[in-house]
């Protein structure tokens, strides 16, 4: 980092950015961390690490750009580099494998047609959360970013370091997998899954 970059913000400006633009996202950050790690202590550590890094590299943050996306990117990289290795979770299915498997068009569509919008609307928060949590981390992540946090495809591409086209297709597959899970709940709970009206 050059001297000019290093001196970009005064101490006062740094504090104001940190308090005004970074800290307001702590709620979203903690929930993202928890949905990645499923562990309160790990989530706490992950958020702490992220904020420390954010402060340390605050000069590479451009004021006026999306602070939340910038922070999410740091958190996601920290998770991949540190927490995924020592995660208490059993080893997840390799993402590439999952992606290849669900890449074919027939799998794409089968099994989701009989899930009805009304059944989904009747489901409980726990059922929705459990279905989401049951997805492999890469699929879970895109749904969290898009639907829970409201990021655009472009922001997601930056957070995840993948092209926009990959964001779109990964989301599409993630949603199909989620629908499979929801269909399972719908059936086991006796919600309507067939055409009846």
């Amino acid at each position: 980092m050059s001297d000019s970059q290093r001196r970009k913000y005064t101490q006062e400006e740094k504090n104001s950015i940190f308090d005004g633009e970074f800290m307001p996202h702590i709620d979203s950050m903690y929930n993202f961390a928890f949905r990645l790690t499923f562990d309160e202590d790990d989530a706490k550590d992950l958020v702490q690490d992220t904020y420390l890094k954010a402060y340390r590299f605050i000069n590479s943050f451009e004021q006026g750009t999306n602070a939340k996306a910038w922070l999410f990117r740091i958190l996601k990289n920290s998770f991949i580099n540190e927490y995924r290795k020592k995660s208490k979770q059993p080893a997840k299915v390799d993402y590439q494998e999952v992606e290849t498997y669900y890449n074919s068009d027939d799998v794409d569509f089968q099994g989701t047609t009989d899930l009805r919008a009304d059944s989904v609307k009747d489901m409980l928060g726990d059922e929705i959360s459990n279905a989401l949590n049951a997805l492999a981390v890469d699929f879970r992540t895109v749904i969290i970013l898009a639907d829970l946090e409201g990021f655009t495809y472009e922001e997601m591409a930056k957070i995840l370091d993948i092209p926009i086209g990959t964001v779109r297709s990964r989301l599409h597959r993630a949603r199909n997998l989620l629908k499979d899970k929801l269909r399972g709940y719908a059936q086991s709970m006796g919600y309507k899954t067939d055409e009846e009206d």
């Binding site: 903690y30 794409d108 929705i128 749904i143 599409h172 989620l178």
Partner: protein, 91 residues
């Protein structure tokens, strides 16, 4: 059970020519990625294609429940303070 569309469903195509492509397009529209153009495409799809119509409403319902019903984890009360403390110490 709501049946909006039941009256007009006879006019809609019963099967969709390219489900995979159409559904991805619908999902992009729902995600707000298609702008004004998306609204026109959406109207046409929903008017003319029954599988697209059903898929759209299902996808919309899923987005809605994800946004409103997913259980939220309360942030530990000490977290913000401990972050500020750690930063203060690191200076």
């Amino acid at each position: 059970m709501e049946n909006n569309g039941k009256e007009t469903s006879e006019e809609r195509k019963v099967s969709c020519g390219d489900v995979s492509k159409c559904f991805q397009l619908l999902e992009s529209i729902l995600d707000g990625e298609m702008g004004e153009e998306g609204k026109e495409v959406l109207k046409e799809k929903l008017d003319k294609c029954q599988p697209c119509f059903e898929h759209f409403h299902l996808e919309q319902a899923i987005r809605e429940v994800l946004k409103t019903k997913c259980t939220k984890q309360p942030v530990p009360t000490q977290l913000a303070d401990s972050i500020r403390q750690m930063i203060h110490e690191s200076k």
